[in-house]
């Protein structure tokens, strides 16, 4: 079992919910990412999604698009993200999930990535544009290296598709809260409740909800329904507005803590 599986077992044992923090690795600079991850973990993040920037991120809204552009300009590529992961691993056991698109992974090589990722302390991988139909080789390579593969379930997914998503996923299933790209939203979509029910009907895996989750109130609402929530754009907006200033770590930590308090209201 990866650190991801262990995390969800621990959350269950301790009767807690998990906060998953997404950050685009390499923004504002690859050397800074480990310290940003430290800050998120201090603030209470239970799992870190390390975004590997891709030039054409069709599933992302403007905040994460801009983060990716800055990361690429700062020299970030998949190899560099694996180095970042190794650095984080030297001092933390926080579960790490690679979050990216298929093309950088194909270019790196599926076998090579699964081997190198496992060595760097990565626990799993989520590729937003790898449909289950096209994922056979990718899932095979990752599983052989002992890594989790996480797939997205969406409000548009049919029951047949949800079964496939569940079958190919390990660790947890990532539910997209609404039909849309990543980005902060004022309120949660009404699609979440029915989606959670439909996915529960086809799997016993833990569920996390992301896309559009950005406020403690969202966290509170979702904490009643699923095992974890994912927040991304709201963190990356802080990274963007801080422009590398020394107080960035403090702001990320404080915001993670604030989000985490949302779970308190769940009970």
């Amino acid at each position: 079992m990866t650190r991801i599986g262990q995390l969800f077992e621990r959350l269950k044992r301790e009767n807690r919910k998990g906060l998953i923090a997404y950050i685009t690795a390499g923004d504002p600079h690859p050397d800074r990412t480990p310290s940003l991850v430290d800050a998120l973990v201090r603030g209470g993040a239970d799992l870190i999604e390390l975004g590997v920037p891709f030039s054409d991120p069709v599933a992302d809204g403007p905040v994460i698009q801009r983060a990716g552009d800055r990361a690429i300009a700062a020299g970030t590529n998949l190899a560099r993200v694996l180095e970042i992961a190794s650095k984080i691993r030297e001092r933390s056991e926080v579960p790490l999930l690679l979050f990216t698109y298929l093309n950088p992974v194909l270019r790196y090589g599926l076998e090579r990535l699964s081997r190198d990722a496992a060595k760097s302390g990565i626990d799993g991988c989520l590729l937003t544009d790898a449909s289950v139909e096209e994922a056979e080789a990718y899932v095979g390579a990752m599983r052989a290296a002992g890594l989790d593969t996480i797939f997205l379930a969406a409000p548009t997914s049919t029951e047949r598709r949800l079964k496939l998503v569940a079958r190919y996923s390990s660790g947890f299933v990532y539910l997209v809260s609404r039909t849309g790209v990543t980005g902060e939203q004022a309120s949660l979509s009404a699609a979440v409740g029915p989606l959670v029910q439909s996915v529960r009907a086809v799997t016993d895996l833990p569920l996390a909800v992301g896309f559009g989750v950005s406020k403690p109130g969202h966290v509170a609402e979702l904490g009643r329904q699923v095992e974890a929530v994912v927040v991304g754009s709201a963190f990356m907006r802080i990274v963007e507005s801080s422009a590398g200033a020394p107080e960035l770590e403090g702001r990320l930590e404080a915001f993670a803590r604030e989000l985490k308090l949302g779970f308190g209201e769940t009970a």
Partner: protein, 398 residues
Amino acid sequence: MTQQPDSGGHFGPYGGRFVPEVLMAPIEELEHAYLEARSDPAFQAELAALLADYAGRPTPLYHARSLSERLGGAQIYLKREDLLHTGAHKINNSLGQALLARRMGKKRIIAETGAGQHGVATATVCALLGFECVVYMGEEDMRRQRLNVFRMRLLGAKVAAVSSGSRTLKDAISEAMRDWVANVGDTYYLLGSALGSHPYPMMVRDFQKIIGEEARGQILKSAGRLPDAIFACVGGGSNAIGIFHAFVPDAGVALIGVEAGGRGDAAGEHAARFRGGSPGVLQGAFSYLLQDEDGQVSSTHSVSAGLDYAMIGPEHAWLHDLSRAEYVAASDAEALAAAKLLSRTEGIIPALESAHAVAEAVKRAPASPGKIFLVNVSGRGDKDIDIYRENFKELDEA
């Protein structure tokens, strides 16, 4: 080969469906709706009537005698897609897909455009059939193709400027996909080339294959035999697959796709995917892609906005690997020179995209006496007059 693609949309190893899960069910729904429409005689009859009475099909096949004479070799025939309503082959596909959108009960149509021809064709069809229409267009392309931006607005479409990335076709497609993700319920994405996720490459080919079907009959009638070679420019690949498709089983007919050679061989200076590209995944499909060693999509350049795209349609990748089609590149300068030559010898000002196909035929004709060449003139040059003026400054001096 005519069985391609398989049920998952694969042409050999290429094609497929690589989109976020949110779009997968809508894409399956689209595929089912299309397959149903394709075998529905009423749908086909309505499309055929619009193609004939509204768009102006069949387009002529024209024997370009003075160009042929000037080059002193092959006899060149032109398939005149430039004479269609809105000025390019793009309307064949826009009509077909808009009828499908209506059949699916959609209210709103979105599209991407590079040169603006697909945007204009889609805006036109939306005006005709009463759809709300939003066309995504890169800011750089809006600058290059100003006239088409205005045409779309005059037709009632909203042109949404895309300022991300290279601000060209690739970024317009990404933005259209994001819109589609957010509005899948009532919105139909009318993709303009033989690109993207299955079923688009197959569906767009099906709507464009009428070009080759007509041309095959026409050339048999006027020249008495099949051509020796067919030339078409390849952006995403819709006009090329459209004219190639009917001839794929004719082993004696060389199929020659002409990519944008731009201003040099270095990365970023051209859009020739078979010259420095390698298989990868972009915007829904697996095919030849211009990319760097990290898998980031390379920037591209072409004087013609419609060929300025980093990926080639998956069926072309397959025809290339099978060696059934040959792919070459014509430079900006060669295309410009060919456009001028065609204008001066035949009185036909081609689109800059189409001028790439003309350029390759011009290059090969002198050494090919007795041969018959068929060139797809995919569009007319009206939209490119500003660029021709910039490049032929000597003609502007009063």
